[in-house]
């Protein structure tokens, strides 16, 4: 039985993107509204005069150096110098040519980032080699210059994408040692540790950092982690001051306001919660937008339409929005984008698998999501279970068994995951023709769900069990269908209702084939 994605809790944990994207998103900008530095007035007139008096590559490049360093707008003379370098490319260095192109806004075809658009591309071996190339490149750069904290974070990110968690952690710790107060380093490390369930260490790092006392981007992470640990935070008061002070740009406190809004929401202070979520949406990022979307499921007064905001990489919020609008195909496509944006994260893979199984009846797509998610999280029992489920349903019970055994071999497996794994094992046994073993496994799963008082999985296991009984031609199937139809708990769950309808249709098609009257 597949494990469904659930978002009972969502916390504003920072994202772990590459440096370029994170910078473009403004998450590393200073939180100060104004600079206290005295800015000098650039003067490049001498460089222009000298270029006009001496038309050489060196004089042109000297002028262009002055232009870029002083951030001077281009004009006729500057463009002339840049064009001169391009026309004299045989006598110019590659740096001079690059600089001239940049000044003339000529795009270079060089692509450094790994750009994947599809999850299938990600799974293919070829992309692994791309990631390994990138790792090699970064290691080479570090070997040459080992004081760059960002390079270690980037390296860690690639290691985490391919599931080399220890190496990723090691490199992040080096980055932290090199730059203990760097926001990008801390936020990346915190997200990494949270992702791999070391919430305590993540919390300790951010809580003890001196910057957390005044940096809203770190304070928000501390609040999110303390909430995730069911603890209070000493930063709430200071956080409220920052959000309400008008001294900070709204984008710099968007996550902070979102974290405070979450705390208020969880404490049932809906009025305050709404105020803070509204503040977070003044200039949201993808994280605060997704959090507001999550909050809107819990408080009808919080109304969010992600499409109304011009937020980059807002795949999670958009995907969830389409999910709630029952637009499953769109939701799945955006889950794919969400995964590609954050390939080390488990949530988009599990969410995509959930949509594919529960709503699209597409086990192949579910398997793709799981396989992709397992690259970064190779031992994740939920993804392993869903992969086994999808494989068993697509005629590969033996392969499925290998994966489900990995779930049972995991000593940290949770109770709910365990009961789902029993049901999946039941499915595998049915598919292998071991009907009695299959029944035993399903009954065990149902019993476990009953003991845990988990109605959702009790019903889901029952639906799956009935489906297999119909497929093996159990004459009591009609009674089972009747029982499912009368179950009011299933009526209120969209995903369960769809599963039940599918089983009813299966029963109808079977009975009409055999001429048995339907219920």
């Amino acid at each position: 039985m597949a494990i469904f994605f659930s978002r009972n809790d969502r916390h504003v944990i920072p994202n772990f993107r590459n440096f370029k994207k994170t910078t473009e998103l403004g998450e590393l900008d200073s939180f100060k509204k104004l600079s206290t530095r005295q800015i000098f007035i650039p003067n490049i007139i001498d460089y222009k005069n000298e270029w006009e008096d001496n038309k050489t590559v060196a004089h042109a490049a000297d002028l262009l150096s002055a232009v870029i360093t002083n951030n001077v707008k281009s004009d006729k003379v500057i463009n002339e110098a840049a064009n001169f370098i391009l026309e004299s490319s045989k006598f110019s260095t590659s740096s001079q040519i690059d600089l001239a192109k940049r000044i003339l806004n000529i795009e270079d075809a060089k692509i450094n980032a790994i750009n994947l658009s599809k999850i299938t591309q990600f799974i293919e071996t070829n992309n692994h080699s791309l990631i390994f190339d990138k790792i090699r490149e970064l290691k080479k750069s570090i070997l040459k210059f080992n004081k760059n904290p960002i390079a270690y974070v980037e390296l860690a990110r690639y290691y985490s994408i391919i599931g080399q968690i220890e190496k990723a952690n090691y490199n992040l710790q080096i980055a932290l040692n090199l730059s203990p107060n760097n926001r990008y380093v801390i936020r990346s490390l915190v997200r990494f540790l949270f992702n791999y369930n070391d919430i305590e260490q993540a919390h300790d790092i951010v809580r003890r950092n001196e910057r957390t006392n005044f940096d809203p981007w770190l304070m928000s992470a501390e609040l999110a982690l303390s909430t995730a640990r069911n603890r209070g935070s000493k930063f709430v008061k200071r956080g409220i001051e920052i959000v309400t002070s008008d001294k900070y740009h709204p984008h710099s406190y968007t996550e902070l306001a979102s974290s405070i809004g979450t705390i208020e929401l969880l404490h049932g202070n809906f009025k305050k919660s709404k105020q803070f979520f509204n503040a977070s949406l003044k200039s949201p990022n993808d994280n605060s937008l997704a959090q507001a979307e999550w909050a809107s499921e819990r408080d009808v007064n919080i109304v969010v339409n992600p499409a109304d905001f011009q937020v980059s990489y807002d795949y999670e919020a958009q995907s969830m929005d389409f999910y709630h609008k029952a637009e499953w195909e769109q939701a799945a496509r955006l889950a794919e984008d969400w995964f590609i944006d954050m390939p080390f994260a488990k949530a988009p893979a599990l969410f995509g698998s959930h949509i594919a199984i529960a709503f699209l009846d597409n086990n192949k797509e579910s398997a793709n999501f799981c396989r992709a998610g397992l690259i970064s999280n190779p031992n994740d029992p939920q993804l392993l279970n869903n992969l086994a489920y999808s494989l068993a349903n697509t005629g590969k019970p033996n392969e499925a068994e290998e994966y489900i055994n990995k779930v049972f071999n995991n000593p940290t497996i949770g109770e709910v995951t365990k009961l789902c794994a029993y049901a999946t094992l039941g499915l595998i046994n049915y598919k292998k023709g071991n009907i009695d073993a299959g029944r035993y496994n399903y009954q065990k799963a149902i019993e476990e769900a009953r003991l845990l008082k988990n109605a959702e999985y009790l019903n889901l296991a029952t639906i799956n069990y009935v489906k297999e009984e119909i497929l093996v031609g159990n004459p009591q199937s009609g009674d089972f269908i009747k029982m499912l139809k009368e179950n009011k708990e299933i009526d209120v769950r969209k995903d369960l209702s769809i599963q039940r309808k599918r089983v009813e249709d299966l029963f109808l098609s079977r009975t009409s084939q055999k001429g048995i009257p339907s219920v």
Binding site: L28, A58, F91, T93, L99, K144, N148
Partner: protein, 353 residues
């Protein structure tokens, strides 16, 4: 700027025989060279078959200053600049400073028929030009010349440091090329511990285009010596970058620094931006290395990395940093550059054979 040249004594020295015995034979600059509120016009002069370079101070510019400027202050500034450059030359004489172009002669000329006929001037050895006229980036055989020229400059800078003078304005246009050597020119922006420089109170007196990154972010060491020598270290490294990649280190850094963190955009502190500067610096040195000949790549990259390290407290030679001596001392860099230049020269000789 070129208005009223006919009524400008500094622009009308051509053909004159000066009181110091020099004959003005050619006007070099078509327009005024301006440095702040200080203007000069350049000529070639001749005496006893020796041709030299004359820099005439255009004091008539008092009349064209804007209303917001104080005439007395501007006059005082120009006079101080003239005096400082002249006195610094005298100070450096007999102190074994061989790789710096000093004032050879100085004087004042009074020309009749002009509103302001007084033209103070300084005379220097005539160079073939500045290094930008010499550099040919397509010619790999020039490597030996480039390395020797950089070595000459490093020696000059070290000589200045030895007598507590910091140049502060080391850049391609101030590297003068002579037939057998290169020298540092234009000490107008320098600061000296024992002389009253017009820029003694400036945190950075040189050209901001070449300034080290900490200056852009408003951070500097309060200790005079550490601050000015850290700046010179960076400027020397940046010059090496220009000699090979053809652009300055600051341009390379800016190119690799996301716009959010550039000095014009960044609103935070220098400490906060350090990590990102190091990332940009790492990429900048990688780009720099692509313009280097293979046999000198590693050494030159190391030199530039140490000289241009964007965080001034970690700048300087590693050995000096670890043994606690003056980290900005250029001695070790000079030795390394000498060795590299010798290797390159030997390579040229062996190729010729």
């Amino acid at each position: 700027m070129d208005n009223n040249i006919s009524d400008n004594a500094a622009h009308n020295l051509l053909g004159k025989v000066l009181k110091t015995g020099w004959t003005v034979i050619e006007k070099i600059t078509k327009r005024d060279n301006s440095t702040g509120s200080f203007f000069s016009i350049c000529y070639k002069v001749e005496k006893e078959n020796e041709i030299c370079f004359l820099k005439a101070f255009d004091f008539s510019k008092f009349f064209s200053i804007s209303e917001s400027e104080n005439v007395v202050d501007v006059m005082s500034e120009m006079i101080e600049a003239y005096k400082y450059e002249r006195d610094l030359s005298n100070y450096c004489k007999n102190k074994h400073v061989t790789k710096v172009s000093f004032v050879k002669d100085a004087g004042e000329e009074v020309l009749k028929g002009f509103t302001l006929g007084i033209v103070p001037y300084l005379i220097f050895d005539l160079a073939d030009g500045d290094v930008r006229n010499k550099l040919d980036f397509s010619n790999k055989l020039e490597i030996a010349w480039r390395l020797r020229s950089i070595h000459n400059v490093a020696v000059g800078l070290k000589q200045l440091h030895y007598i507590d003078v910091s140049h502060q304005d080391l850049k391609p246009s101030n590297i003068l090329v002579f037939p057998t050597t290169s020298k540092i020119g234009d000490l107008g922006r320098s600061v000296a511990r024992k002389l009253d420089s017009p820029y003694k109170d400036s945190i950075f007196s040189g050209d901001w285009t070449y300034a080290p990154p900490e200056m852009f972010y408003g951070v500097y060491d309060t200790d005079w010596q550490r601050r000015v020598f850290a700046t010179d270290c960076y400027l020397l490294g940046s010059l090496i970058v220009f000699y090979f990649s053809g652009i300055s280190m600051s341009a390379l850094l800016t190119k690799h620094l996301p716009e959010n963190f550039t000095w014009g955009q960044w609103k935070g502190t220098f400490d906060e931006v350090k990590g990102y500067l190091l990332e940009a610096f790492s990429n900048a040195t990688t780009e720099f290395s692509t313009s280097l000949p293979e046999q000198f790549k590693e050494e030159l990259c190391k030199l530039v990395e140490r000289l241009c390290y964007p965080i001034p407290e970690n700048r300087g030679h590693l050995k000096n940093l670890t043994n606690g001596s003056n980290q900005y001392n250029l001695e070790r860099f000079v030795s390394s550059l000498d060795l590299l230049a010798r290797k390159a020269e030997l390579h040229v000789i062996s190729q010729k054979k």
